[in-house]
Amino acid sequence: MRIKHVYLAGVAILAAATLTSAVPGGGTVSGKITYEGTPAKQKPIDMSKEPSCAKQYTTPPTTETVVTGANNALENVVVYISAGAPDDAAPSQAAVFTQKGCRYIPHVLAFQVNQPLQVVNDDQTSHNIHPLAKVNREWNKSQPPGTPPIVDKYDKPEFIPVKCNVHPWMHGTFAVLKNSHYAISANDGGFALPNLPPGKYTISAYHESYGDQSQEVTITGSETKTINFVFKAKPY
């Protein structure tokens, strides 16, 4: 229940971020992300070395490197405009990344360059937050239970894998983006980029295991264009 709340709050923040610099009544790009082939089977996570987390689950949660839905839907894909949109000023509202039950919520967190990032530890154990940035600065901070959120920001766009060295199963992604037009595919693979001013855009889709792909689209008015992405799934 709590997880759902945090998740909803995250969605609300993302939605708010998307609205800030968009043009109401503009065009929309929407579509569905699917995969073809056989995705790697997600394994149950053995949290026995961290009892305070293990006891939160009746059945062990699985890894999240590939999360799928019905009809080959692919979740957790970051859809964003990689070219054609101006860089947007960062919203002042923080993007929140929560550690709960020794997992990252959300698994993929998208936010803008220079937008405040808040990392929260809801667990009764110490985590270390280690975003493996290559373009941005790589830092690594310890966060014992009950300590205040870690606040930071990134000044360059980058997809950054995040890990906790203490709990090797914990993996997540920061998607640091240049503008406010982005979405993360839901469990049905669906996404929508609303309120786009007229123009020619390169729409890109990024998945942590399957990489990046792009398509061009031209928006002329308040139309809705459909774009679908298909990722080739790898069985390992």
């Binding site: 070395k49 009892p51 154990t125 110490s126 270390n128 937050i129 280690h130 493996l132 290559k134 600065r137 790589e138 830092w139 690594n140 901070k141 310890s142 966060q143 014992p144 300590t147 205040p148 870690i150 060295n165 203490v166 709990h167 090797p168």
Partner: protein, 287 residues
């Protein structure tokens, strides 16, 4: 005629090449105490002493790198373990100078104390030319290390509580032998396996030998490794307590901390048990 043209052309190129050098003279320098290092001088030394491991481009892929299981530092990425600055920032010139002087006793990086101070300062200046980070960022602010308070048994005991509370044992093990429950899974930022420090070995720390060095290690973290920064979660006076306790985990290394700890009944029992048992522990869950 043709020769003349060519030489003019070369002269032109030389002037063009020299221009940015003049502009960026500051960038080609390092400052360590009274020594000012010069990148051009450092370049000569680098291609004599360093490139075999660190590579011609400074990216850590020299010919010898393939034989090393702790990879040479990649100066292009410019992520450094031993810093006096906060996590995620560039080290100071002095940090690089000290690391080079000291060497890393767990790896193939030797001490370069054989080179003069000036040589080492020159090398620091040259190493900084490999990464674009040095052009856009300044070195981080060195952290403030307050004066070390008097060593007391209470300080050691409190440090021991912190060791539990901050869950240092998850990697370093309950007895500090580097065998905690997460130890075997650790990798560095290049996905290379890496071991947590084993205090019982008594060997020198990765980033120095003094109590001040130890203080800096856990406050700044060792960037590029699993060792995080504890700057935001330990108060300065508590940090010294942790230093005092960590010294007592070095059961084979003589220190004032160990001597004081062993003068208490409790400490003497713990230390002698550790010395005699000498069995790896900490693979299970903490009590």
């Amino acid at each position: 005629m043709r020769q003349m043209n060519t030489s003019k052309w070369f002269a032109g190129i030389a002037i063009l090449l020299a221009m940015p050098l003049v502009v960026s003279a500051q960038q080609g320098e390092s400052h360590i105490g009274k020594y000012t290092g010069n990148a051009a001088a450092g370049k000569q030394l680098y291609y004599r002493y360093c490139w075999g491991c660190h590579g011609a481009r400074g990216d850590g892929t020299g010919d010898n790198a393939q034989y090393l299981n702790i990879l040479p530092r990649n100066f292009v990425a410019a992520t450094f373990k031993c810093r006096s600055t906060v996590t995620g920032t560039l080290p100071t010139d002095e940090d690089l100078f000290n690391a080079m002087t000291r060497g890393f006793n767990n790896s193939n990086m030797p001490t370069w104390i054989t080179l003069t101070h000036q040589n080492r300062a020159d090398l620091v200046a040259f190493i900084k030319t490999f990464s674009p980070r040095w052009k856009t960022e300044k070195a981080g602010e060195p952290i403030h290390v307050p004066a070390e308070p008097a060593l007391t048994v209470e300080s050691i005991k409190h440090g021991s509580e912190l060791f539990q509370k901050l869950e240092c044992w998850k990697c370093h093990g309950q007895e500090g032998r580097g065998d905690g429950p997460s130890a075997s899974t650790l990798t560095d930022s290049n996905d290379q396996p890496i071991r947590p420090y084993n205090f019982a070995s008594g060997s020198r720390f990765k980033c120095g030998a003094t109590n001040q060095d130890l203080y800096k290690i856990f406050i700044t973290g060792l960037d590029g490794t699993p060792m995080p920064s504890f700057a935001d979660v330990i108060k300065p006076e508590e940090a010294w307590d942790l230093v005092h306790y960590l010294r007592t985990l070095q059961v084979t290394h003589k220190s004032p901390e160990l001597t004081l700890w062993m003068s208490t009944k409790e400490g003497a029992e713990i230390v002698s048990a550790k010395r005699t048992a000498n069995t790896p522990t900490g693979s299970g869950i903490a009590p």
